[in-house]
């Protein structure tokens, strides 16, 4: 296989729109490599992925100018099905790519081949090969709907591989995955590239791009604004590309004289620490004050969905005013269950959850919203209004506040989350990253004592993460607390002070990021991983209380 993708002055404008979604793109994608497409939300990455795969102009109507060639075929003049032997597309939401017509994984993987009318033994052979390539042969007879998110994605990739296309396009594949799955995906794509496939990946996850991509394209407002190897792009065009956490840490360490000012590194494994002997510890902003009266108390909470599947086995935890807490744990450790105890969506089997000293089990969950607001991961489950303003107003209105107060809160939430320019637009008419900000603003408008965010940064571009951080700052500045449940450990280390690790339904770590002992760092690494600075400290066996350790764990290093 030696398939290249060539764009020549390619432009595309969606029907009924006045601005080009892609404008004058000229680029040659090298075969047998991983090429990453990065850029802010709305820059045109998904449009480019779709146009390469053949969805324009029949499926997505619009005007095409210029040319594009994929493996010597034109996806503009060919339909999607005609392009299938050359290129396939995998998007971020694996569950939406299941056909729904097949009852087993093996059938789903071979479904396209069945529709094409290939001979049964060819189908069986290709399905077996694809299942093995994606390491899911043991799931062959399961229902596609009985898999985890990561497994579903592997199945969808296997279904694409069964068609044996030389070009594979991925649109934000890491958005819904946890760190081990993100790493595994990178390894899988690398091996596919080695076997001869041309891989194109649109991504927001810059550290992943830095680790696995061979070439990077930066899009902004439909135009190609930078290109090159990852280190080149992140080094020369940080404003346009955004900065991976690895780069931020490295710059900080170079600034402090802890690293020699060498050329940029690809991964932090390549870091060489040369701290000066007189290194002073960093001045870190004063942490949140000790808890006087906690807002929320969780006392010896046990919970089981059914008698023989206990999930929470004695949780004890307090949350005070103005705190920023990272709630971490493996999938299945009990994080989500604990989260739902904070506002009474779930009631403990034994134990008590108190807000301002009142047992919240007595109240309906809706009544607890003014004390604890939760923004869940899938914002589609929340949005239903015709304008962003209405969406944000729903919470305050339901609380029964006066019209003036509702308006005040709406305006404040709009400003804090940077949504004033789109206040009267439909939530689904803006880019997906900003939609998550809408959901957050809508819950923030409740002005509850505690704001909990479930995977708030999944699929967000750098600008939106900055906006999110701004919103978090605003919340805690007003004496309210924020709980972040997130796989993004760097985000947590940069913007929270306290870390709580849930393991097997118990609190295994409850400390600040600065005060983690080596044993706790190891435990954290085993369970969920570590932020970059802490990982370096662990690997080089540096104590976090030493000046060098303090620098490595300085949240400012990751900002």
């Amino acid at each position: 296989m030696n398939a290249s993708v060539t764009l020549e002055h390619l432009s595309f404008r969606y029907q009924r729109k006045t601005v080009d979604a892609l404008h004058d793109l000229t680029y040659h994608i090298t075969p047998q490599q991983i090429t990453a497409i990065i850029g802010p939300s709305g820059a045109g990455k998904s449009t480019l992925c779709a146009i390469i795969t053949g969805f324009m102009p029949q499926f997505f109507r619009g005007q095409v100018d210029g040319t594009i060639t994929v493996n010597n075929h034109s996806p503009i003049t060919s339909s999607v099905i005609a392009m299938l032997p050359h290129v396939t597309l995998v998007t971020s939401q694996a569950s939406s790519q299941i056909s729904g017509v097949c009852f087993t994984v093996a059938e789903e993987v071979g479904f396209a081949l069945q529709n094409l009318g290939l001979a049964p033994d060819i189908i069986r052979q290709r399905v077996t090969d694809a299942l093995h390539a994606m390491d899911i042969a043991h799931l062959a007879e399961r229902s596609p709907f009985a898999l985890s998110g990561g497994q579903q994605q592997r199945m969808v990739i296997a279904a694409a591989l069964a068609l044996q296309p030389p070009v594979l396009v991925f649109d934000e594949p890491t958005a819904q995955l946890d760190p081990p799955a993100v790493e595994a995906l990178g390894v899988t794509l690398k091996s596919l590239a080695t076997r001869g496939h041309t891989i194109i990946v649109a991504e927001h996850h810059l550290d992943w791009v830095a680790t696995f991509a061979d070439a990077v394209l930066v899009l902004d407002q439909g135009q190609l604004v930078a290109r090159g190897t990852p280190s080149h792009v992140f080094d020369m065009y940080p404003q346009k590309s955004g900065r991976p956490y690895g780069i931020r840490l490295h710059s900080y360490l170079m600034q402090q004289g802890i690293c020699a000012p060498t050329h940029t590194i690809q991964t932090i494994d390549q870091l060489v620490l040369t701290p000066p002997p007189d290194l002073q510890p960093p001045v870190v902003a004063h942490m949140a004050p000790a808890i006087a009266t906690p807002i929320l108390q969780i006392e010896n909470v046990h919970f089981a969905y059914t008698p023989d599947t206990p999930v929470l086995n004695g949780i004890n935890m307090h949350i005070g005013a103005g705190e920023r807490i990272a709630l971490l744990g493996r999938n299945g450790a009990g994080k989500s269950t604990l989260l739902r105890h904070l506002n009474g969506l779930l009631r403990p089997t034994t134990g008590i959850v108190r807000i301002h000293d009142h047992d919240i089990a007595r109240r309906a969950p809706g009544h607890n919203a003014k004390h604890v607001g939760i923004v869940f991961q899938d914002v589609r489950n929340q949005l239903f209004a015709a304008t962003i303003r209405d969406e944000i107003a729903f919470g305050p209105r339901t609380l029964g506040l006066s019209a003036n107060e509702v308006q005040r809160r709406v305006e404040h939430a709009l400003t804090t989350c940077g949504l004033t320019d789109v206040a009267d637009i439909h939530p689904y008419d803006i880019a997906p990253a900003r939609r998550r900000l809408v959901a957050t603003a809508a819950v923030m408008a409740l002005e509850s004592d505690i704001l909990a965010l479930d995977e708030p940064s999944a699929g967000l571009d750098e600008a939106s993460i900055q906006q999110l951080v701004h919103a978090i700052d605003d919340t805690t500045a007003r004496g309210r607390s924020v709980v972040l449940v997130s796989h993004d450990l760097n985000l947590c280390a940069a913007y929270t002070e306290r870390v709580v690790l849930i393991k097997a339904g118990r609190v295994a770590i409850d400390s600040t990021w600065q005060a983690l002992t080596r044993a706790e760092l190891q435990l954290l690494d085993d369970e969920v991983g570590l932020p970059m600075g802490h990982a370096v400290a662990l690997r080089h066996q540096i104590d976090t209380s030493t000046p060098l350790g303090r620098h490595l764990c300085n949240p400012m290093a990751l900002r």
Partner: protein, 256 residues
């Protein structure tokens, strides 16, 4: 390109119809959990009719009943023709813009008022049936129960103004569809199922029969009390939701 013209060959339509069928069932269950006195089990059918027209709407209704029966509700199958008609009517109203237009608020109020008055008239007529089963004249009923009609009229007008608001056309379309649905399903229930469905509404049928009516009329009376209200609510929910949709979704379906 031409394959997109046949509604069944377009993958968008196929997916929408499948999701709509699931929606019927799920929303019907949601309403049970919320303990509301309606079925609301044709939201998906009405939605498809509104977005894709009568053929797709009718097909969705038909297949929805097939799915219902595949899930173990064997007696859903004979009502497939009713579901089909609901989908077709929703489609016809949809093609005429009922779901995209706002009625003046007085229309909503008038629809509410008329509906409640008609309902009361209907119930009272049956309850005051003569010994031999014949029905009294409408004028007599109105004169005898003027106060009741006055009250229900006011409740209906106020309720219509507040709840129906600008969805008057959709509400009216729903009422009409509900009446047609009751007319078609009555003979099915009466002749195929002996007048019963095993649900709570059988009580209503029983009380109509107790006042002297035969099975067919009693079943129709029960349907005429519950179906128009249920379909009016369904149509209005769909009207509200269509007006909550982003432009690009509506445009996507308009192009079909």
């Amino acid at each position: 390109m031409e394959r997109f013209l046949n509604p069944l060959k377009n993958p968008i339509n196929i997916v929408l119809m499948a999701l709509a069928i699931a929606m019927n069932i799920v929303v019907g269950q949601l309403v049970t959990v919320l303990k509301l006195p309606i079925y609301l089990d044709s939201i998906g059918t009405v939605l498809v009719g509104a977005l894709l027209g009568p053929i797709a709407g009718g097909l969705t209704g038909l297949l929805a009943n097939v799915i219902w029966s595949l899930l173990g509700n064997a007696y859903a199958l004979p009502y497939a023709v009713v579901a089909l008609v609901i989908g077709v009517m929703a489609g016809i109203f949809g093609r005429n813009g009922v779901f995209r237009s706002n009625s003046p608020q007085w229309v909503g109020a008038a629809v509410g008022g008329l509906f409640f008055v008609a309902l009361s008239l209907f119930i009272l007529t049956f309850l005051n049936a003569n010994e031999d089963g014949s029905l009294p004249a409408m004028a007599d009923i109105i004169n005898a129960n003027a106060l009741i009609f006055g009250i229900t009229g006011v409740i209906g007008i106020v309720g219509g103004a507040v709840l129906i608001k600008n969805g008057g056309y959709a509400g009216l379309a729903g009422i009409l569809t509900g009446i047609v649905a009751a007319v078609i399903s009555a003979p099915i229930t009466a002749y195929l199922f002996g007048g019963v469905t095993g649900s709570g509404t059988d009580v209503l049928v029983a009380s109509f029969m107790a006042s002297g009516q035969n099975i067919l009329t009693s079943v129709f009376a029960q349907g005429a009390v519950s179906d128009p209200f249920d379909k009016m609510t369904s149509f209005m929910v769909v009207w509200i939701i269509i007006n909550l949709l982003p432009k690009r979704v509506l445009e996507r379906f308009e192009d079909q």
